[in-house]
């Protein structure tokens, strides 16, 4: 049985294989750029397998431990694309390392495998294992620079990650204790028939749900579980920061949607309760992220807080999923579309920062002055991405916000959308400040800022994505809708 199901794991298995090949090759090969090439090849192969499975019917494998459905495949593809762009953008950065270049690439691949499993996991056990697999590789990657800040980042991430894991495990234990099941669909059956009329009737379930939300909330960096973000984002190697902010967050949202919607989606009062919980957390998260981002002087920290704010917008979608009670799939597909748009936009912004900061050797926004003259293409790309993060036309960010806010308004979350729109206005201030510094500031030197072809290629791909999603969103909306259709309704 199990062996015959292995072929449904080809995306993960092939990527794992390539990760091992990278580690082995590292022993023999002097020219380390080859390793990046092999890694990207692995990602492409895996993405090919993922695409090939798009049309296949939904199926649960390994005794319902993993689900093979379009929802998972959508996220797998997104994660693979993000990992590919990160590796492409890492080459210059990594070539400065004296040792362990092979390990760097391998760890990126392995954490990608972990995240892919996380998006497919349909059982509390497999969710936990996948979460740790992705987490541990990321802890190592965060401390990869081995300077003081990076080490601190890695250690903080590890310790707080351990706390979050403990919280999550406690929540899982409570849910398991109440239902006697670990598979999400089985939990759903039990919860639906529980003889209670509200969460307050069953404090253990309430605590379990809050602990689950907290554990996953750490992964997506929602307030008050976001404290690690600025320190880790600043200290970690910039490509890893980008990876954390996009891939790790996307995987986190995937698992939250699956756990809450599948296992805790019924009865309707339960769904509405956690919907409201996420709505309130969303309002706090985006407000805190935006307000604190305003006073940042370091662009990596600013983007860190900006990613907290973006998580807040994404949680508007999550809240919609809850309060919609499965009435329509707008919240879910909106969330997926927003993640797509956020992925290309944020990766683009970070890659531009990698390209610029690496050359001028500074992460301070003030040092970006006059970049429009010193590196016009990078400055154009960064401007485009920042404009998309604000949510202005003709970019992906606008459509994503329209999509998700429209869905929220439909389900009575007007107040949350008003908060979100005010927040978008606030965010324009600090995003545009960078634009202003780059284009209107006087350059500190006439020296051009060069960038490698790999960086330019990955940046161009991101910008292309930002524009495509913004100008012809139709087919991507269709993809997001197809991906959430598996949950019924």
């Amino acid at each position: 049985m199990i062996v015959s199901e292995l072929h449904l794991m080809t995306p993960e298995l092939s990527l794992l294989g390539f990760a091992l090949v990278v580690i082995l090759l590292d022993l023999f090969i002097k020219q380390k750029k080859v390793l990046a090439g092999v890694s990207i090849a692995g990602l492409i192969v895996s993405a090919g397998f993922t695409l090939a499975m798009w049309g296949a019917p939904t199926i649960d494998i390994f005794y319902a431990m993993l689900a093979v459905d379009r929802f998972a495949l959508f996220f797998k593809f997104l994660l693979l694309a993000a990992a590919g762009l990160i590796i492409l953008a890492s080459q210059d950065y990594v070539s400065k390392f004296e040792r362990f270049q092979g390990e760097y690439y391998a760890l990126v691949l392995i954490s990608a495998v972990g995240m892919m499993l996380l998006t497919a996991a349909a059982d509390l056990i497999s969710i936990y294992v996948a979460l740790e697999l992705s987490g541990i590789s990321l802890y190592v990657l965060a401390s990869f620079l081995k300077d003081q800040k990076s080490t601190e980042a890695g250690l903080k991430y590890l310790l707080l990650g351990a706390v979050a894991s403990a919280v999550l495990l406690y929540g899982m234990a409570l849910v398991f204790g109440l239902t006697g099941k670990t598979c999400l669909l089985c939990i759903a059956d039990v919860v639906e028939t529980m003889p209670i009329a509200g969460l307050l009737d069953n404090p253990a379930l309430l605590l379990g749900i809050i602990l689950l939300a907290a554990g996953f909330g750490f992964k997506i960096a929602c307030v008050p579980f976001q404290m690690w973000v600025p320190d880790v984002y600043e200290g970690a190697p910039t490509p890893i920061t980008a990876y954390l902010s996009v891939a790790s967050k996307a995987a986190g949202f995937a698992v939250i949607v699956r756990v809450f919607f599948v296992a805790l989606g019924a009865p309707s009062w339960l769904s509405i309760d956690w919907g409201i919980l996420f709505a309130i957390l969303s309002a706090i998260t985006m407000t805190l992220g935006n307000v604190v981002a305003i006073v940042q002087t370091n662009i990596k920290r600013m983007l860190g807080y900006s990613s907290i704010a973006q998580a807040g917008y994404l949680m508007v979608g999550l809240a919609t999923v809850g309060v919609a009670v499965g009435a329509d799939a707008l919240g879910r597909s909106g969330l997926l579309f927003f993640l797509m748009s956020y992925a290309v936009t944020n990766l683009g912004a970070f890659i531009a920062v990698i390209a610029i900061s690496n050359k001028i050797d500074s992460d301070l926004i003030g040092d970006y002055t006059g970049m429009g003259k010193r590196a016009p293409l990078l400055a154009v790309a960064l401007t485009l991405c920042l404009v998309s993060l604000i949510g202005l036309p003709p970019t992906a960010g606008l459509i994503a916000k329209i999509y998700i806010f429209n869905a929220a308004v439909h389900h009575g979350l007007l107040w949350l959308v008003i908060v979100a729109v005010i927040n978008s206005c606030i965010s324009a201030y600090y995003y545009l400040r960078v634009v202003k510094v780059m284009w209107l500031g006087a350059p500190v030197s006439e020296e051009k800022v060069p960038s490698s072809w790999a960086l330019r290629a990955s940046l161009s791909l991101c910008c292309l994505g930002v524009l495509l999603l913004g100008v012809i969103p139709g087919s991507f909306v269709g993809m997001a809708e197809a991906a959430v259709r598996i949950f019924g309704s």
Binding site: K156, L159, L160, V163, A164, V167, G198, L199, L200, L206, L207, I210, L211, A213, A214, F218, V223, P224, F225, M227, W228, P230, D231, D273, L277, I280, L288, V291, V292, A293, I294, V295, D328, L330, G334, I399, I402, Y403, N406, A407, H410, I426, I472, P473, G474, V477
Partner: protein, 635 residues
């Protein structure tokens, strides 16, 4: 397949812009002419496809192509469509825009040769053309307004093309700001329309107006608002002041602006919304009156200008007045027919002026003269265009101007007499320009507008500039013949079709054409008498009519009125100062308060980010407890 053609027509120049701006950049240094080729290729293809569309529209039922909307975005029940419409009006405009643009682009290869901004020029020209094509094909008001502003933006960029010259930069700003005044009316009309009808779709709005749902004061106000936009763009009185200054742009840009793109947009706009105007007597009268008045008003200023481009600029304003008069008194077909003919001979006149400048290095007619021998092609084509604009049978200008005169005669005698006087003036100032420029002896020269030619020889322009002139000259003769049989009228709306010979010669059996021909002839004769044969002294006449001369040559002091009185006194000293006070005390206070508050909150919250791990872990625990407590308190 036909459905895609309008999109391709629009996208071709747009992609040309994108390709030149973003993709060709690295190669431009060693392939300096690439930008021009890309633009010409794109617009040439768009032109060919426009003819295809014209043929399709001719055979389509109701002269309207059904182009399915493209659903741009569908989220739940939120559905956003984008679409283009191609009807007879659009088809005609497509032909005008693409032909004029194509000839201008070809000509520019010679004219802009060696300019350091060669590629920037072609990139903007492509974008300009794309915006105008989008404008004429837009099927909803949002799209239309978008391209309307796009056209304004491109004209700003191109008028100010030589931005290092203060005059050019000022002219660009003036054009942008003055047209903005009209745009405000247009935008208000759009919003008001949407508020009243709930639709942006032009076809639906037409339907509402025709069905009589949209009537009364609402309709009148909407029509007046739309017309305000047209007044700004088409440089009608009192927003005409920007167009003469717009001469600061490169001459081919002026040709494009005056013939096919910017100013034609205003006339097109009125024609596009003609069903709305038709149902409002007052709106239609306003269009006719403003048009008729502008026609003669601008012509008087054209009489005395010494700069050849300024003469042409005032003649454009005057001719646009004719078009508005035609629309207001006669209908779409008459106004657009004049736009159609005017596009070709006005483009030709400007390109001719550019050709003259290429040789002499000046636009001042007092420093020209005698170019007839040195520049035979330029002279011949310029002469044809002048005869055409003067309305001499059987050139194109005659046919459309005659229709306007006939319709205004039937409609409003005062406007008819004004239009008749304008015919005389038009002939006079155009031939004054012809005789001053090409007749007599050469009187010197100065440095060219794009770099000094030094002590140069008079010479005919290169072939790449002459060929577009010849093509346009042919069109200036023949384009008017399209309506000799009445086919053009029939295509754009109504009208009876008769045989070509009957129309071609039969028209001379009526008295009205003879009167206008005599007036035009006497205008030419007077110009000949004053500037060629010197039977009359221009100086003496100028002295005799010195108050008028001053009035005309100082442009009725409109610039002074606007700049010193309205802008200086009313706006800067009055309104702006008041607003500034309110802004600095009231608004700034509130904004700064909010901003300071937010920043202070940010700083305070940042304190919480102490970097201490214990604090972070504690936050997680406290957060969980707080959520739990909240559930019990509010839950």
């Amino acid at each position: 397949m036909t459905y895609h053609i309008p999109w391709i027509v629009f996208l071709l120049p747009l992609f040309s812009f994108i390709i030149i701006s973003f993709i060709l950049r690295p190669f431009l240094n060693y392939r300096p002419k690439l930008g021009g080729y890309v633009t010409i290729g794109a617009i040439g293809a768009a032109c060919a496809l426009s003819f295809w569309l014209l043929v399709e529209v001719l055979s389509a039922p109701g002269h309207k192509l059904e182009i399915p909307d493209i659903q741009w975005l569908l989220i739940g029940d939120l559905s956003i469509h984008i679409g283009l419409m191609v009807d007879a009006l659009t088809a005609v405009m497509l032909i005008v825009v693409t032909i004029v643009s194509l000839t201008v682009q070809i000509y520019s290869q010679g004219y802009m040769h060696g300019d350091p901004g060669y590629h920037r020029y072609y990139a903007f020209m492509s974008l300009f053309t794309a915006c105008m094509l989008g404008l004429v094909m837009a099927d909803n008001l949002v799209f239309l307004y978008l391209f309307w502003e796009g056209v304004g933006l491109c004209s700003y960029l191109l008028i100010g093309f030589w931005f290092h010259r203060p005059a050019a930069a000022d002219a660009a700003k003036k054009a942008f700001i003055v047209t903005r005044l009209g745009d405000f009316g247009f935008l208000a009309a759009i919003l008001f329309l949407f508020y009243k009808t709930g639709t942006f779709d032009i076809g639906e709005l037409h339907g509402l107006a025709i069905a009589g749902t949209l009537t009364g004061t609402t309709l009148t106000w909407v029509a007046i608002g739309i017309f305000a936009g047209a007044v700004g763009k088409s440089a009608q009185f009192p927003l005409h002041v920007w167009l003469p200054d717009a001469m600061e742009g490169p001459t081919p840009v002026s040709a494009l602006i005056h013939a096919a793109t910017m100013v034609a947009a205003g006339v097109f706009l009125v024609a596009r919304f003609f069903p709305l105007f038709e149902n409002s007597e007052m709106a239609l009268t306003s269009v006719a009156v403003i048009g008729g008045f502008t026609a003669i008003f601008a012509a008087t200023m054209g009489l005395v200008m010494t700069d050849i481009k300024r003469v042409l600029a005032y003649s454009t304003i005057s001719q646009l007045g004719y078009m508005m008069l035609g629309l207001g008194a006669g209908g779409i077909a008459i106004g657009i027919f004049h736009l159609f003919n005017h596009a070709f001979f006005k483009a030709l006149l400007f390109l001719g002026a550019g050709s003259v400048n290429h040789s002499t290095g000046t636009f001042d007619m007092r420093e020209m003269g005698g170019l007839r021998k040195a520049m035979p092609w330029t002279y011949a084509t310029f002469l044809i265009a002048s005869l055409s604009i003067a309305g001499i049978w059987p050139l194109s200008g005659f046919w459309s101007k005659d229709e306007i005169l006939v319709s205004s005669f039937a409609n409003n005698p005062i406007l008819f007499y004004l239009a008749m006087i304008t015919v005389f003036m038009t002939a006079f100032y155009m031939f004054r320009a012809v005789f001053l420029t090409f007749g007599g002896e050469y009187r010197g020269g100065a440095s060219s507008e794009h770099g000094s030619h030094g002590a140069h020889q008079l010479h005919e322009s290169p072939k790449v500039m002459v060929i577009p002139l010849v093509v346009l000259a042919a069109l200036s003769i023949f384009s008017g013949w399209l309506n000799v049989t009445g086919r053009f009228d029939e295509f754009l709306g109504h009208g009876e079709v008769h045989s070509f010979t009957q129309g071609f010669f039969g028209i001379l059996t009526h008295p009205l054409p003879w009167i206008s021909l005599i007036l035009a002839g006497s205008g030419i004769l007077l110009a000949y008498a004053m500037y060629s044969a010197k039977w009359l002294s221009a100086e003496a006449i100028g002295k005799a009519f010195s108050p008028f001369y001053a009035l005309f040559s100082r442009k009725y002091w409109f610039d002074e009125l606007y700049e010193r009185v309205i802008v200086g006194r009313v706006l800067v000293d009055g309104l702006f100062a008041g607003c500034g006070f309110f802004d600095s005390r009231g608004v700034d206070g509130a904004v700064n308060g909010v901003a300071d508050g937010t920043a202070a909150a940010g700083r305070a919250l940042r304190q919480a980010q102490s970097g201490q791990l214990q604090v972070y872990a504690m936050a997680i625990a406290v957060g969980i407890v707080a959520i739990m407590v909240c559930f019990y308190l509010f839950g």
